[in-house]
């Protein structure tokens, strides 16, 4: 009896833990592709990762409505730059947000045009300016056209 009682308690505890486990561990849990080391997980979380909202729509999305800007950009020196790089993610624009941001800050252009030591980088092929000396304090867009920058000179 002295031996049996604690034994029963232990068995009951183990049973309770196992019972809780059944409810606490998600049903999708198991060993999948990759074996126990790399593939032991809840498969439903793959769906969670897939369900994140797509925010960047790509330039094709803009073409139909902003025809003027789209054709301008695509035939310019800035043709490779996605609209959303300068205007932010479209998400569900124009329903939400109704307008995208227009960033006229110098910092936007300086990302590519600030003159830097970059000998082994594509940066050296882009015309650079010294931000401290090239018309400091004035927005680039007031002299240059961001959608179709004229080679060499201002707009």
């Amino acid at each position: 009896m002295h031996v049996l009682r604690p034994l029963l308690v232990v068995i009951a505890l183990v049973a309770i833990v196992l019972a809780i486990r059944i409810f606490a561990v998600p049903v999708g849990f198991g060993v999948y592709d990759g074996g126990y080391i790399y593939g032991w997980y809840d498969q439903s979380s793959e769906e969670a990762a897939k369900s994140v909202e797509v925010k960047y729509q790509g330039r094709e999305y803009c073409q139909g409505c902003h025809t003027e800007q789209s054709s301008k950009v695509s035939s310019s020196l800035h043709a490779n730059i996605q609209c959303e790089n300068c205007h932010g993610p479209a998400i569900k624009h124009p329903s939400e947000p109704p307008k995208l941001t227009i960033d006229t800050s110098r910092d936007l252009c300086l990302r590519c045009h600030a003159d830097l030591p970059a000998s082994l980088s594509g940066r050296s092929a882009i015309k650079g300016i010294d931000p401290d000396n090239h018309n400091p304090g004035v927005n680039c867009a007031s002299c240059h056209n961001p959608h179709s920058p004229a080679p060499g000179a201002a707009k």
Partner: protein, 262 residues
């Protein structure tokens, strides 16, 4: 006592049984297995290709990544980042990645940390370049091995993901990653990382950073698709991976990497 008759009976039955199971193996048609493997959409193996000579350090990829994945923009964490390396004529190496390169490189000042800066003159540089980095989605991910609860894993298409609802935020994976690719996501206080934009690639879109890159420095492809240009480059060109000696088998391949890159 076993009689001869019984012995023959059982051994015959055993042989027949073995034959049946062998037949089952042979019934698997190698042609069909191959066909399944080259069905690129169903059987993808995602890989990343970075041409670091094309990177100009504009940081638009980092901006796009953080906004696409809804990460707090001001928090100093990012699934992808851009590093700058400057080697002077004297052989001194400076490297920085302020704010993960989110705002691009607009100044000649190299951020040495602790509020110290170093200006390197153009004429004093032997090498200067940018290197985009992100999670390598290793085939042998050490971050997955150490997870005590099974909250991180590699999907069948080769993407290392975190199950946010199961992660306990212990941070073991952050320690285990040799590339520093993981962080604690302040929104959920669980481990966060690059997902190869799993929500985009599974819909046939490119990852946000690849789409944002104007210079083709970042590319994305499916190694199981023989017609994929990125897969072709990885298979046929001189590509390297980061920290190969760790045996993690990274799936982010680099073109034009320099030995200074750590």
């Amino acid at each position: 006592m076993i009689t001869r008759r019984e012995f023959l009976k059982t051994s015959l039955a055993g042989a027949a049984g073995a034959a049946i199971s062998l037949a089952a193996i042979e019934m698997v048609d190698p042609g069909k297995v191959l066909a399944a493997a080259v069905q690129p959409e169903k059987n993808a193996r995602w890989a990343f290709l970075i041409d670091s000579t094309k990177c100009v350090g504009c940081g638009l990829c980092v901006k796009a990544c953080k906004l696409e994945n809804g990460l707090p923009f001001e928090a100093n964490i990012s699934p992808t980042w851009v590093e700058r390396y400057i080697l002077t004529n004297g052989g001194e190496l400076f490297a920085d990645s302020p704010k993960a390169g989110r705002d691009g490189y607009t100044s000649k000042r190299v951020d040495l940390g602790m509020g110290k800066y170093q200006v390197v003159d153009k004429s004093d540089t032997k090498k200067a370049f940018f290197v985009p980095k992100l999670c390598n989605h290793c085939e042998n991910p050490p971050c997955v091995q150490v997870c005590p609860v099974g909250a991180t894993y590699r999907t069948p298409d080769g993407v290392v993901l975190v199950d946010k609802s199961w992660c306990i935020g212990c941070g073991y994976c952050i320690m285990a990653c040799p590339y520093g690719a993981r962080f604690i996501d302040p929104r959920t206080r669980t481990a966060g990382k690059c997902t190869f934009c799993y929500h985009r690639i599974t819909k046939g879109l490119k990852t946000a950073c690849v789409q944002a890159c104007p210079f083709g420095a970042r590319q994305f492809g499916n190694l199981n698709d023989p017609n994929d240009p990125v897969a072709k480059t990885i298979m046929t060109q001189r590509v390297v991976v980061l920290k190969d000696e760790y045996g993690t088998k990274p799936q982010a391949y680099y073109l034009g990497l320099s030995k200074e890159v750590r």
